[in-house]
């Protein structure tokens, strides 16, 4: 048994001896005299003087790959590592450490042919002609890898769609990684992207279109991953992604970031980012649509088009998201807010009980109340329905005397006192002097306050229910004229999105 281990040990030693790095041969101070460096090997050399430059030629034997370089630091020498193409153009320059520090170049995209590695020293006082440095190179497959230099849109690396792309936030100075996605098949798609966290790096991801207009930006805290959810791709389209660390000198040569993407057909059931403003609103044609509040401060706009020119009532429900207080706003075709639904608090759903629409375009806007929270794990669901308006239904907005809803004496109206702070005005005409009975049914959670005005806006009578849930009823002799009835809760917070009240006006 012990003999077997001895043999194994011997084999490992032999193998190690075989991989002994080659030695630098001076002079190698320019490209013409560059020493060969195996793409999967190492070389030992010295910095004979402060001005010494050591050139190495790496010949790539395969069509494409990723080359990594590493030089171990030596005393008093401040290495600068320069990577150049066959025409000696500098592709990447690494100068991360000071005296005695290692330098490494990661994720260098290479193709079949020759490249040059130039090692130089930045410290004029360097004086260490005897200590050897070790420069090593490793060549890997480039499948699913960033290809440095990819610091601009022009040099962007392809991002794997429906797969993983890996890279490094390195070097730390002036480093940014650009990727591109080419969606060539015509159609509308939804792109979801998750980027893993890397210790010591607060990541920022920006999305640009082919004209390099920034479409979206998401970011995360130090060490956290980030996500881009429900990003709309209107193919054929080319998109660019710029990934970088938020802070200066942030980076990590040891840990990969991993970008996982999926491109799904857009079937109209998810938001399509960017939809942060009116012009970019996601069409909301189906009954339900989902979305994410991300990044912090996100506001998702959805466009709805009532189908006919007749009066319709919009009802909408917004599901809750853990830890968030969502707000639903309805805006008109110019983006002016009509109603803001903020009935409930954190982790509670919101309901728009009914809003009168005509034949125009409207927008539903979902946002988070504080503007400081985001969540890419939990989506919200927004549902909507249109109900044709008919006499006997409340027509919001009827919150002011100017927008009071007409009701005829002898008829009734069913309505909601919602959202929070809602006030409902009704207007009726009395054509003959008579005694008019006004009845409002009770609503759970609402203590009614009713006020009757004449046509000149003078208050004629105020009535308050004895307690929440109770209805009110009063009778008054009225001369011919126009009257308005104002209904509200005694407290603006009182509302009820579940139950309707009924207002009935009768002449006796």
């Amino acid at each position: 048994m012990s003999r077997r281990f001895f043999c194994l040990f011997l084999a490992i030693c032999c193998c190690g001896a075989c991989r002994k790095p080659s030695q630098e041969v001076e002079p190698n101070d320019d490209a013409a005299h560059a020493n060969p460096l195996s793409p999967n090997g190492g070389i030992e050399g010295t910095i004979s003087s402060a001005n010494d430059e050591d050139w190495y030629k790496v010949s790539i034997p395969q069509d494409s790959g990723i080359l990594n370089l590493h030089v171990a630091g030596i005393k008093t020498v401040d290495f600068v590592l320069s990577f150049r193409d066959k025409d000696l153009r500098e592709l990447k320059r690494i100068d991360e450490t000071g005296e005695g520090g290692d330098e490494e170049a990661l994720d260098l995209g290479v193709e079949r042919g020759d490249y040059y590695v130039v090692l130089s020293n930045k410290n004029p006082q360097a004086d260490n002609p005897t200590q050897k440095y070790l420069l090593t190179a490793t060549l890997e497959s480039d499948i699913g890898r960033e290809r440095e230099p990819n610091d601009t849109a022009l040099t962007a690396s392809p991002m794997v769609v429906n797969g993983v792309t890996r890279g490094h936030y390195y070097p730390t100075t002036a480093e940014e990684d650009w990727f591109h996605v080419d969606a060539n098949e015509p159609g509308n798609f939804i792109l979801n992207l998750d980027c893993s966290g890397v210790p010591g790096v607060a990541p920022v991801l920006e999305v640009y279109d082919a004209n390099e207009y920034k479409l979206k930006e998401v970011s995360a805290n130090n060490g956290e991953g980030l996500s881009l959810k429900d990003f709309g791709v209107h193919a054929p389209q080319k998109l660019f992604f710029r990934l970088h660390a938020r802070g200066a000198r942030m980076g990590n040569p040891d840990v990969f970031y991993e970008i996982l993407t999926e491109l799904l057909p857009d079937n109209g059931t998810t938001e399509s980012e960017p939809n942060d403003q009116r012009q970019d609103a996601t069409p909301f044609a189906r009954d339900a649509i989902t979305g994410f509040i991300a990044p912090a401060g996100d506001a998702d706009w959805f466009r709805i088009n009532p189908s006919t020119g007749t009066k319709q009532i919009l009802r909408a429900d917004l599901s809750a998201v853990p830890g968030m207080d969502l707000v639903l706003t309805v805006a008109d075709e110019l983006g002016r807010p009509i109603v803001r639904v903020d009935n409930a608090g954190v982790e509670a759903p919101q309901s728009l009980t009914g809003l009168g629409l005509s034949n125009a375009m409207y927008y539903l806007i979902v946002s988070e109340k504080t503007g400081k929270l985001s969540d890419t794990r939990h989506s919200y669901t927004l549902t909507k329905s249109f109900v044709p308006w008919q006499p006997g239904l409340e027509w919001e907005p009827n919150d002011t005397p100017a927008t009071a809803q007409t009701i005829k004496v002898g008829e009734s109206v069913d309505g909601y006192l919602a959202p929070k702070g809602d006030v409902d005005f009704y207007e009726f005409n009395v054509y003959q002097k008579s005694s008019v009975l006004i009845e409002v049914t009770g609503l759970i959670n609402v203590r009614w306050k009713a006020e009757l005005f004449d046509q000149d806006g003078r208050s004629l009578q105020v009535l308050t229910a004895a307690k929440p849930g109770e209805g009110i009823s009063f009778e008054r002799a009225l001369t011919p004229g126009t009257y308005q009835l104002k209904l509200q809760g005694t407290d603006p917070g009182q509302n009820n999105v579940r139950d309707k009240y009924t207002l009935r006006i009768r002449a006796r």
Binding site: T310, A360, A402, T403, T406, Y431, G481, T482
Partner: protein, 138 residues
């Protein structure tokens, strides 16, 4: 002969069209005016408003662009009158297309006080879908 037939046709067509009644004279103590907020010049087509008092048609404003004030004046005895205003649009160069009921102003009472001039201004906005009535007396 052809010209005569053509002229007669034009006259008949004109008679069939809903023509607004002319505004009343200068002794009026009641003045109605209407205008509309338009967002683009292309929306600024012609319209007029017909006035109903006590359920009877009493007259109409002149025909003019939506954005311009259009008037109708009359003399009314003091009292409280139920008034209804009906908007007619000009579409494709034609006048006399009554706007849908949903977008017509609601009927309401207007009080005319003795010795005072009552002015009612009807303002349409939101592409004519909403309206607002101002009543002033001087």
């Amino acid at each position: 002969m052809k010209k005569i037939v053509l002229l007669a046709g034009v006259l008949m067509f004109s008679a069939c069209r809903h023509r607004p009644l002319k505004p009343e004279g200068p002794t009026a103590n009641f003045e109605f005016s209407a205008y509309e907020i338009v967002e683009t010049p292309s929306e600024d087509i012609q319209e007029y408003v017909t006035v109903f008092i006590n359920g009877q048609e009493k007259g109409s404003t002149e025909i003019d662009l939506k954005s311009r004030l259009k008037f109708w004046r009359t003399e009314l005895a003091p009292g409280n009158y139920p008034m209804r205003f009906e908007v007619w649009d000009s579409t494709n160069g034609m006048t006399g297309v009554r706007r849908a009921d949903d977008f017509q102003p609601r009927e309401r009472f207007v009080r005319v006080e003795p010795g005072q001039k009552t002015s009612v201004v009807l303002k349409f906005y939101d592409k004519g879908r909403q309206n607002f009535l101002y009543i002033t007396r001087e």
